[in-house]
């Protein structure tokens, strides 16, 4: 008996020490990031860090890290204005020529100097890789380095969107543009350098002391991916992570007003959309598409489901984005919707499908269920297809769907990124073809003055809205959960906050 007790105690001790060691392991995790690092958790995993990898060219999670590790010629400030980045200044020589003057003395993480030739190599690389960014660069004919600090872009016709598009061109050394090592340990010139990266698990960054704008305040940043929302919120509340975003609206109550945590919210450039495949019957008929929109009680769906976490949209892009113009909202009127279906020869309703992947955004499944429930009331049976992200992406790009639900972020904060990139007949992303819209979008892309551009995009908003190319339910409000020791943080509308200005007081 005695022996057994001793055995038991030994086992218990072993177990306890294992737990303790395990605990140490988590507390000290991120051995690659220096002490005092900020621990920041975003809701989606980072899978790749190479800025020229086709699959993640506009992937939100990887863009967050890329903004910290790389520089761009132009960037957004906290208010969303375009400000100089690597380029100290730029000017438009004539309709088709832009000249950018770079800062001198900028160095990459490996110590080599950043010159105009690196910028040219990066532009050529991004044009060569076919990705979701391709449409943005199609009208840039060439770039040339006149000297070490001058780059000249020549465009095919006028291109007013060049500076805003350049916020997405991440500069790496010319010799590394196609180097596979960039996927894991990329070299850039940003305020932080990568010291460790496990795809879909965590990213470890350390301060780059040679940064041209002066070293960042934080010694490093550690970005773990926490898949479970409830675990992530627990981690925030007990101080395991200092920053968590986005906090889903249903979970805000667990964070707001709790000790040691505060919440900063900002209307984001991320919004939900449901496209109709306009090239497929019965969605070829705009009357059917409008009837589908009329069937939805958007105020109830958005208000009850998201609460303070989203705003009902009144245009195909969020109201905080450049080029937004408010449209007349579709009134909730199932009777009119049923009549419209009858006029379109679909009096008995029809059966169709809608695909999405659950991680696309907060409450995606619930939003889908609410819409499907409303559509049944006008006699339309929508079969839900909740599928994997990879399969969803493949079907989306091959137009193999009837309806689809997703979130989309206007990464640049400019309508050119969504309206201009997605809705042209040539892009053919949802089967919608309208030569009049093509003409307006082309003119908007070429216009230089912001007044002209705003007017043209307002016209594009109206066409997309009135033709009901899709349902545009809600623009999301991003809630950032912050530990109280964090100062200098500005919430970013595109979900990509600038963490180089943040300081962390150790509690």
């Amino acid at each position: 008996m005695d022996l057994r007790r001793r055995e038991f105690l030994a086992l218990a001790g072993l177990g306890a020490s294992a737990v303790a060691l395990g605990g140490c392991g988590t507390a000290g995790a991120g051995g690659a990031a220096p002490r005092g690092s900020l621990r920041a958790a975003f809701g989606q995993p980072v899978t790749d860090l190479d800025p020229y990898n086709a699959g993640t060219a506009v992937d939100e999670a990887s863009l967050i890290v890329k903004r910290l590790v790389f520089d761009t010629l132009v960037r957004h400030d906290a208010a969303g204005r375009l400000v100089p980045g690597l380029a100290a200044s730029w000017r438009r020589e004539n309709d088709t020529t832009w000249v950018f003057r770079l800062r001198s003395g900028v160095r990459f993480h490996d110590g080599s100097a950043l010159t105009a030739r690196d910028v040219v190599a990066c532009l050529e690389r991004t044009k060569a890789v076919k990705s979701a960014q391709s449409a943005l660069w199609a009208t840039v004919k060439s770039a040339r380095a006149d000297d070490d600090t001058t780059v000249t872009f020549v465009t095919d016709g006028p291109m007013g969107t060049l500076p805003v598009n350049l916020t997405l061109l991440f500069i790496v050394p010319a010799k590394l543009v196609a180097d596979p090592a960039q996927k894991r340990r990329p070299i850039g010139s940003g305020p932080f350098r990568v010291t460790g990266f496990t795809p879909s698990t965590d990213v470890e960054l350390a301060r780059f002391d040679g940064y041209w704008a002066g070293p960042a305040r934080l010694p490093g940043i550690s970005m773990p991916f926490i898949a479970e929302t409830s675990s992530a919120i627990t981690a925030l509340r007990n101080g395991d992570v200092d920053l968590l975003w986005p906090v889903p609206s249903d979970q805000l109550g667990e964070v707001k007003g709790k000790h040691g945590v505060r919440v900063a919210s900002v209307p984001s450039w991320t919004y939900y959309l449901t496209w109709f495949n306009c090239g497929r019957k019965p969605f070829t008929d705009p009357r059917v598409r409008r009837a589908m929109v009329q069937a939805l009680d958007m105020d109830e769906i958005v208000g009850k489901l998201f609460g303070a976490g989203a705003q009902r949209m009144d245009a195909p892009i969020p109201s905080t984005v450049f080029g937004h113009a408010a449209q007349r909202p579709y009134a909730h009127d199932p009777g009119a919707a049923r009549r419209a279906l009858r006029d379109a020869g679909l009096g008995d309703g029809f059966t169709t499908t809608m695909m999405w992947f659950d991680a696309t955004g907060p409450l995606a499944r619930e939003l889908a269920q609410s819409m499907i429930s409303a559509w049944r009331d006008i006699g339309v049976t929508v079969r839900p297809q909740s599928i994997e992200k990879a399969q969803w992406l493949q079907r989306l790009n091959t137009l193999d769907w009837d309806m689809e639900l997703q979130t989309n972020t206007v990464t640049t904060g400019d309508a050119a990124f969504t309206l201009g990139r997605l809705y042209t007949s040539k892009a053919n992303r949802m089967g919608y073809k309208n030569p009049a819209l093509d003409k307006i979008l082309a003119a908007a892309g070429q216009a230089a003055g912001s007044g002209d551009r705003a007017r043209l995009y307002a016209e594009a908003c109206r066409i997309v809205w009135d033709d009901a190319v899709g349902v545009f339910p809600a623009a999301l409000t991003t809630a950032y959960g912050l530990g109280t020791g964090i100062t200098g943080f500005t919430p970013a509308a595109n979900n990509q906050p600038d963490l180089s200005t943040v300081t962390r007081r150790t509690p």
Binding site: D250, Q251, E300, R365, I372
Partner: protein
């Protein structure tokens, strides 16, 4: 050796223990399982589950809340305002259906495979047993995830998937019984009298396989229900337009801190039913296995 072990399984010995009283825990188990079967059969008739309807103004209400139409949501509502009790009842039907169908399908395949390999032996036995060994060496839930991932979510596919992962268990039990029975004197006598293999298997070997097979089946039903819930939890089981306890637990994960009832209710129901099935299986084994009385 085998003659001595198998002899008590004949009629008089099996009849005798049935006179013994069932232990209390067996009655509890029976009550839980009875309630579950009743709920699965009648529940969806009384409270029809509508997978499409949503009621957003009444989402995330705690148990006992009153709904807009005056009714009471005894177990609360979920994240799109559906009544949890209705969802649970619909889920119980899926659980029962999948549990019963899988055990029937897997049991049938296992019975045939076990009889063939136990009775004939030789290369058929070698092949079937090795396939079984290979499969058992592989974690069954991993195999189920693999097959379910390829087939896609649907009730039929879940049954197929789980039957594929379970047949070995039944085949082993039947094989052992068939192996023991085929060398008994009465089987030899039948053979000497000129009876063919099919007749011997069906009339003389099969009867001694039923009892162990039924015991195995009661144990497996509980495990299959857990496996179905696991697959649905992972999104590989029941499609989203049908209720499943596993899927409901999964959907409620994000609400553990604010609306605990969404995950907790189906999890508690699953735990209760599986424990109940286990208790009943235990009692049944005690009754069926004469060695348990020693």
């Amino acid at each position: 050796m085998s003659a001595i072990a198998a002899a008590p399984a004949s009629a008089p010995a099996a009849a005798e223990p049935r006179r013994r009283r069932l232990p209390v825990r067996a009655w509890i188990g029976l009550a839980v399982v009875g309630l579950f079967v009743l709920a699965a059969l009648l529940g969806p008739v009384l409270m029809p589950y509508d997978p499409v309807a949503t009621d957003l103004p009444h989402r995330l209400l705690p148990p006992g809340s009153r709904l807009g139409d005056g009714s009471v949501a005894w177990l609360g509502t979920d994240q799109v305002g559906r009544d949890m009790l209705t969802t649970l009842l619909a889920g119980s039907r899926v659980s029962l259906l999948v549990g019963a169908a899988t055990v029937l399908a897997g049991g049938a395949v296992g019975l045939v495979a076990g009889l063939v390999s136990g009775y004939f032996g030789g290369w058929a036995d070698a092949v079937l047993s090795r396939i079984g060994d290979v499969q058992l060496a592989f974690p069954s839930i991993l195999l189920a995830i693999l097959i379910a991932g390829v087939l896609g979510p649907s009730v039929t596919n879940v049954v197929i998937t789980l039957a594929v992962t379970r047949w070995v268990v039944f085949a082993r039990v039947v094989r052992a019984s068939a192996l023991a029975a085929r060398d008994l004197e009465f089987v030899d006598s039948a053979r000497v009298l000129g009876a063919g293999h099919p007749r011997i298997i069906v009339r003389h070997v099969l009867p001694s396989c039923w009892q162990p097979l039924l015991v195995a089946a009661t144990v497996q039903i509980g495990l299959v229900m857990v496996a179905e819930a696991s697959l649905s939890f992972l999104g590989l089981g029941i499609p989203p337009d049908q209720a499943s306890w596993g899927a409901t637990v999964s959907a409620g994960r994000d609400y553990l801190g604010s609306a605990w009832w969404i995950s907790t209710m189906p999890a508690a129901a699953l735990a209760a039913v599986v424990t109940g099935v286990g208790l009943v299986g235990d009692a049944f084994r005690d009754l069926a296995d004469p060695r348990a009385q020693l």
